[in-house]
C-alpha cells in the first residue's frame, strides 16, 4: 500500500480498509460492486451532459457534476457508460466516500487517495490516473463554487 500523508474521512478510510482486507483478485470484484452501485443520474442531468464536466483523463468518457449547497454540503453526480466498469467503479468509490460531505472535508481529502486502494498492480497506474483526475476536478469545482 502506498503511504499517504493526509488523513481520510471515515467513509473513505473504511473503503480503503475493505480493499486492503481482500486478496488481489477479489479486489477487482469489489471494484465491480462499486461500479454496479453507482447511482443513476437524477432526471435533471439525464441526457444533459452539457451541464456536466467531462473528465478526459479517464480512459472511457466520464461526466462529473458537483453541487455545493448553501450550508456547504457537496453532492456528486457521475455518468459513465456500462461498458466502462473500471471508470464506473472509480466513480462509485468517490460517490460512496465523498457524496454528502462538507466542502472542507472534500478539500482535505488527500489527492493521492486512489493510490491507497491496493489496486496499482491489478488495475495499473495508468488507469488509476483517471481516478486521481476525478478527485482533482471535484476539488476544483468545490473551490470554485464555494467562491
Amino acid at each position: 500500500m502506498t503511504a499517504g500523508t493526509g488523513t481520510l474521512n471515515p467513509r473513505l478510510r473504511e473503503i480503503a480498509e475493505d480493499f486492503a482486507a481482500v486478496p488481489g483478485k477479489e479486489r477487482l470484484q469489489l471494484l465491480l460492486e462499486f461500479a454496479q452501485e453507482l447511482p443513476q443520474l437524477p432526471a435533471r442531468y439525464a441526457d444533459r451532459h452539457d451541464l456536466l464536466e467531462p473528465v478526459p483523463e479517464c480512459q472511457s468518457p466520464l461526466f462529473l457534476g458537483v453541487e455545493v449547497d448553501d450550508d456547504g454540503t457537496v453532492h456528486l453526480f457521475f455518468d459513465a457508460p456500462r461498458e466502462a466498469p473500471t471508470t464506473r467503479g472509480f466513480a462509485g468509490i468517490l460517490h460512496a466516500g465523498l457524496d454528502g460531505l462538507s466542502a472542507e472535508e472534500i478539500l482535505q481529502t488527500p489527492s493521492e487517495f486512489s493510490g491507497r486502494l491496493g489496486l496499482d498492480d491489478l488495475v495499473s497506474p495508468l488507469r488509476l490516473r483517471g481516478m486521481a483526475a476525478m478527485m482533482a476536478r471535484i476539488k476544483r469545482q468545490v473551490r470554485r463554487q464555494r467562491g
Binding site: 477487482l28 470484484q29 471494484l31 465491480l32 461500479a35 478526459p56 483523463e57 480512459q59 472511457s60 456500462r82 461498458e83 466502462a84 466498469p85 473500471t86 471508470t87 467503479g89 498492480d121 491489478l122 488495475v123 495499473s124 495508468l126 488507469r127 490516473r129 486521481a132 483526475a133 476544483r140
Partner: protein, 296 residues
C-alpha cells in the same frame, strides 16, 4: 511464419479478399467452434473489469497492461514469463488462439501482436470483437473457465521482425504511419492547461510520418473494413506501396498494433514493424527531431 492450423479456417467470403484470410474468424464461426478442444478464446480489453461483467463462455482473460508487460523494465515479458503466463492460462503452443476485445479489438490486436513476438503459430482475431458478439445477442457468462495448466515451451521473443526501436526509427524516416488522433499528431492535444499531460513533454509527430487514425480501419459494427476500403485508405490516400518497409506508432504502441495487423495480415505488406516506444518515448527523448502541424 509457418502456420500450423489446428482448426479449420473461416471461409467467410469477405476474409478471402485479405492477404491472410486465416487470421480472422467471424462470430458465427466462433459460436460453432466454441467447444472444439484445440481452441482457446482470450478476451483483452481496455477496461480491466469488462471481462468480469461477462465474457464469451470459456474465454480466458488476458490483460494487456498487467500481464503482458514487464513490471519493472519498459518491455514485454521475456520467454520464461510468457511461457509461465500461457501455461497458467491453459494455452498450449499448438492451440488456435482467438483473441477479441472491446473498442474495435484495439487491445486484442495489441495482445495478438505481443503473442506474435513469441511466434505463437495460430493467432486469430474475432472480427467485430466484443461489440459484435454482444450486438448479435450471443451468450455471455461471468463464470471463469477452469482450464488445465499446460506446458507452454520457453520461446525467445523475436524483436527483429515486427518490432522496431528508436535508434532504428531515426534512420528510417520516410515510411512512417502515425495512427493517433489528428490533435495528437499536430501537437495540439498536449496543450490543455491544468490537465494532466499524456506523458510526453512535447506534442507533434515524427518527421515524415503520415497520420491515419487507427480506427479508420474499422467499420461501424467494429469489424474490419473490406480489403478494397483498406486499400483506399492506406494506398490511395496515404501513398503506401505494397512492398514498402513500414513503421507504425502511436502513444505506447497499442493503437498501432491494430494498424500493424491491418497492414501486415489484411493487406499483406511483408515488412511492417510496430514502434512501441512510440510518442511517449520519441516526444521525450533528447535530440530527437519532431514536427508540429498537419504537414508530415
Amino acid at each position: 511464419m509457418r502456420l500450423i492450423v489446428a482448426l479449420p479456417n473461416d471461409s467467410a467470403p469477405k476474409f478471402q479478399e485479405y492477404a491472410r484470410p486465416e487470421v480472422l474468424v467471424t462470430t458465427e464461426w466462433l459460436a460453432e467452434h466454441l467447444e472444439d478442444p484445440g481452441l482457446v478464446v482470450a478476451e483483452s480489453d481496455e477496461d480491466v473489469l469488462l471481462y468480469e461483467t461477462g465474457h464469451i463462455p470459456g474465454a480466458v482473460k488476458l490483460d494487456w497492461h498487467t500481464e503482458l508487460n514487464d513490471p519493472l523494465t519498459r518491455d514485454y515479458l521475456d520467454g520464461d514469463r510468457f511461457s509461465e503466463l500461457m501455461s497458467d492460462k491453459g494455452i498450449s503452443r499448438d492451440a488456435t488462439l482467438v483473441l477479441y476485445g472491446d473498442r474495435n479489438n484495439w487491445w486484442a490486436a495489441y495482445a495478438l501482436w505481443v503473442c506474435t513476438l513469441f511466434g505463437h503459430p495460430d493467432l486469430r482475431l474475432l472480427d467485430g470483437g466484443r461489440t459484435k458478439w454482444i450486438a448479435e445477442g450471443r451468450p455471455l457468462t461471468t463464470e471463469e473457465p477452469q482450464r488445465p495448466r499446460t506446458n507452454y515451451p520457453v520461446v525467445d521473443r523475436d524483436d527483429t521482425r515486427f518490432r522496431v526501436f528508436r535508434q532504428q526509427v531515426m534512420t528510417h524516416l520516410g515510411k512512417l504511419v502515425d495512427v493517433r488522433s489528428p490533435g495528437e499528431y499536430t501537437g495540439e492535444l498536449l496543450h490543455m492547461p491544468e490537465y494532466p499531460q499524456e506523458g510526453a513533454l512535447r506534442g507533434g509527430h515524427i518527421p515524415s510520418a503520415r497520420n491515419v487514425p487507427w480506427a479508420r480501419a474499422a467499420a461501424d459494427d467494429a469489424t474490419f473494413r473490406t480489403r478494397k476500403e483498406l486499400e483506399t485508405i492506406y494506398q490511395d490516400e496515404t501513398g503506401l506501396q505494397a512492398d514498402d518497409d513500414v513503421v507504425v506508432y502511436c502513444r505506447i504502441g497499442e493503437r498501432s498494433s491494430h494498424t500493424w495487423f491491418v497492414l501486415h495480415h489484411l493487406l499483406g505488406y511483408p515488412q511492417v514493424r510496430n514502434y512501441d516506444g512510440s510518442w511517449t518515448e520519441w516526444g521525450n527523448s533528447v535530440r530527437t527531431p519532431i514536427r508540429k502541424g498537419e504537414a508530415p
